[in-house]
């Protein structure tokens, strides 16, 4: 019995190691690729060949050279940072507010409205993109960050997560607040928000990742180059001419870094946020 367990253990370990290596290969490929010339990339594609004579730090030097293209890259980077941080902060506050409303009160139409949250949660954005695109156009806010963020501030799955989290909080806290003479909003701000802190981490991480990587909606909304976010900017480098690929590979590599670093430190919250919707169903 023991022997069988050990050999099984070794076998699964080997299997998982092979899968892990396969999963990491694309990252290795882009890492190696970032040291190669962009024209070489266009001619030869990505591979794992380490050819020291063809490899240099030129792409990284170019990225920090202050050249026109490199400056544009950092502008996209900055735009993405600004958009991600403000979008996450606003989404958390608005969604927590709504989530508390659903968790703490009984009122007419609550079930129907919550059903709407559930429906929205699972409908893929792609299906809504054209009507939404038309709508922000009609509202006169296309090509603004407001158009990117506004439709998703009351974010269905974040609301759902907060509601589930708050459903476990004893009603006595709210009652005690009322007896002390706090208003309904005072109770939320002073008593509930502090309790919610642990649940903020998971949703902050999840929303930050989604916002940082968001591609399709900004692609539809944004027109002016000066407002491009990182994914949209990188997308403009796709056509293989000039030194686009010098920047594309290095730029893609650097685009992964912030989320990757967050992941190293806050892995637990990534996993908590990702799986939040799964078991509840």
């Amino acid at each position: 019995m023991e022997k069988k367990n050990i050999s099984l253990s070794v076998l699964t370990f080997l299997l998982f190691t092979v899968v892990a290596i396969v999963i990491l290969i694309p990252f290795l490929a882009i890492f190696i690729g970032s040291f190669k010339d962009g024209t070489d990339m266009i001619r030869n594609g990505l591979n794992l060949k380490i050819e020291l004579d063809k490899m240099s730090l030129d792409n990284f030097k170019f990225l920090f050279s202050g050249a026109e293209e490199a400056r544009r890259y950092f502008m996209w980077y900055k735009n993405s940072m600004i958009l991600t941080i403000s979008q996450v902060a606003l989404t958390l506050i608005v969604s927590a507010f709504v989530g508390y409303g659903f968790a703490a009160y009984e009122f007419k139409g609550k079930n129907a409205l919550f059903l709407c949250v559930l429906l929205i949660m699972s409908v893929p954005f792609e299906i809504l993109m054209l009507p939404l695109y038309k709508q922000v156009g009609d509202m006169g806010i296309s090509d603004t960050y407001a158009a990117i963020a506004l439709p998703f501030l009351a974010h269905a799955s974040t609301i759902f997560f907060f509601r589930q989290y708050l459903a476990g909080i004893p009603k006595e806290i709210i009652e005690a607040g009322r007896i002390d003479g706090a208003s309904e909003y005072g109770i939320f701000a002073r008593l509930i928000l502090p309790i919610m802190k642990p649940s903020f981490a998971a949703m902050a991480i999840l929303n930050a990742m989604n916002s940082w990587n968001n591609f399709l909606w900004p692609l539809l909304v944004l027109r002016s180059d000066s407002k491009y976010t990182l994914p949209i900017g990188l997308n403009t480098l796709l056509s293989p001419y000039g030194n686009n690929y010098d920047l594309l590979i290095v730029g893609s590599f650097c685009a992964i870094l912030p989320i990757f670093i967050l992941f190293l430190f806050f892995q637990k919250y990534f996993i908590e946020g990702m799986t939040a919707g799964a078991v509840k169903g």
Binding site: S9, T12, L15, F16, V19, A20, I25, P26, A29, I30, G33, R43, G45, L46, N47, L48, V94, F97, V98, G101, F102, A104, Y105, E106, L113, L115, V117, I120, V123, P124, F125, E126, I127, L128, M129, L130, P131, Q135, L150, P151, F152, L153, A154, I159, E184, N213, F215, L216, P231, L234, L238, L248, I249, S252, F270, I271, M274, T275, V279, G281
Partner: protein, 297 residues
């Protein structure tokens, strides 16, 4: 006066919900109604003409749309076949006692999900390059095969799309199954152990039935994700049309008609059909998992 109204206990709940109600009305209901109206119109810049069901009739006879539906459904089925059983088995291994280095593998498998589709798509487009020196062609070269023009043939392009999907989502789906497995009471396995059940029997008789809610969940999100796949194929073909439309999906068709050709009326009809399909699946899923009942209590 207004302040007193907003602060009253009867109104407060609605104040809390109001951001959601506004979002729902402004960014869901109104756009969908407008889109519904547009689907009965022909829209050329500012000229709007009511044309009844013509857009829908045209849709029925549109061979490109049929190809898009075929591609999307094929992709969806492919992801269902690969991205449910494999992550489930992986999760069982990770959850079992014999496994070493669980946390490490969990993290590594999850990493691809951190990348944006732009970066992932760029990497995979270059890995599946048609030159002999691209990674995939070098790999099949080991087995003595000639280089393949991966992204120019129908089934090889389908393979590339599926590889990308598996790479990105295996780890995430595994996490779903893992959190499902962890909610199964240990006593079930222990009593099966006493009855002399082997690992396979435990998997089939305990894990799979107990994972049913997770399976349904992963199944539904995979159906949605599969049917609405677009950016992956957009990235693999650099945002251009794929050769012979091998990478055209329903949403890709929506994008071409609505955004590129500015044919909003016709595109709205495509979008509404897709929305209806998804809503039907959605309501079916909510009914199956009993969420309606739970909320009524």
């Amino acid at each position: 006066m207004i302040k007193k109204f907003i602060y009253s206990k009867k109104i407060a709940p609605y104040v809390f919900i109001v951001p959601f109600i506004l979002t729902f009305l402004i960014f869901w209901i109104v756009p969908i109604i407008k889109s519904g109206m547009m689907s009965f119109q022909s829209i050329q810049f500012t000229e709007v003409e009511w044309i009844g069901l013509d857009n829908y009739k045209r849709l029925l006879g549109d061979s490109q749309f049929r190809l898009a539906v075929f591609n999307s459904v094929r992709y969806m089925i492919g992801t269902l076949i690969l991205l449910i059983p494999i992550p489930m088995i992986f999760a069982c291994f990770i959850n079992s006692k014999v496994m070493k280095g669980k946390e490490f593998f969990k993290s590594v498998f999850f990493i691809p999900a951190l990348t944006s589709v732009v970066v992932a798509g760029t990497i995979f487009r270059l890995i599946f390059g048609e030159m002999g020196s691209s990674l995939m062609n070098q790999f099949i070269g080991i087995f003595g095969l000639e280089p393949i023009k991966w992204l120019k043939n129908d089934w090889t392009a389908f393979f590339a799309l599926l590889t990308l999907a598996c790479w990105r989502w295996t780890g995430v789906n595994m996490l779903y199954f893992l959190s499902g497995l962890q909610s199964i009471p240990k006593e079930l396995y222990e009593s099966a152990q006493v009855d002399g059940a082997n690992a396979w029997q435990k998997f089939i008789k305990i894990s799979v039935p107990m994972l049913k809610p997770t399976i349904i969940y992963v199944l539904t999100i995979s159906i949605y994700a599969g049917l609405s796949m677009f950016v992956e194929s957009y990235m693999l073909w650099e945002g251009k049309n794929s050769p012979k439309n091998i990478g055209l999906t329903i949403v890709g068709y929506l994008y071409n008609q609505g955004i590129r050709k500015n044919n909003m009326g016709y595109a709205s009809a495509v979008g509404l059909i897709l929305l209806i399909i998804v809503m039907v699946i959605n309501v079916a899923q909510l009914t199956v998992t009993g969420l309606f009942k739970k909320e009524e209590k």
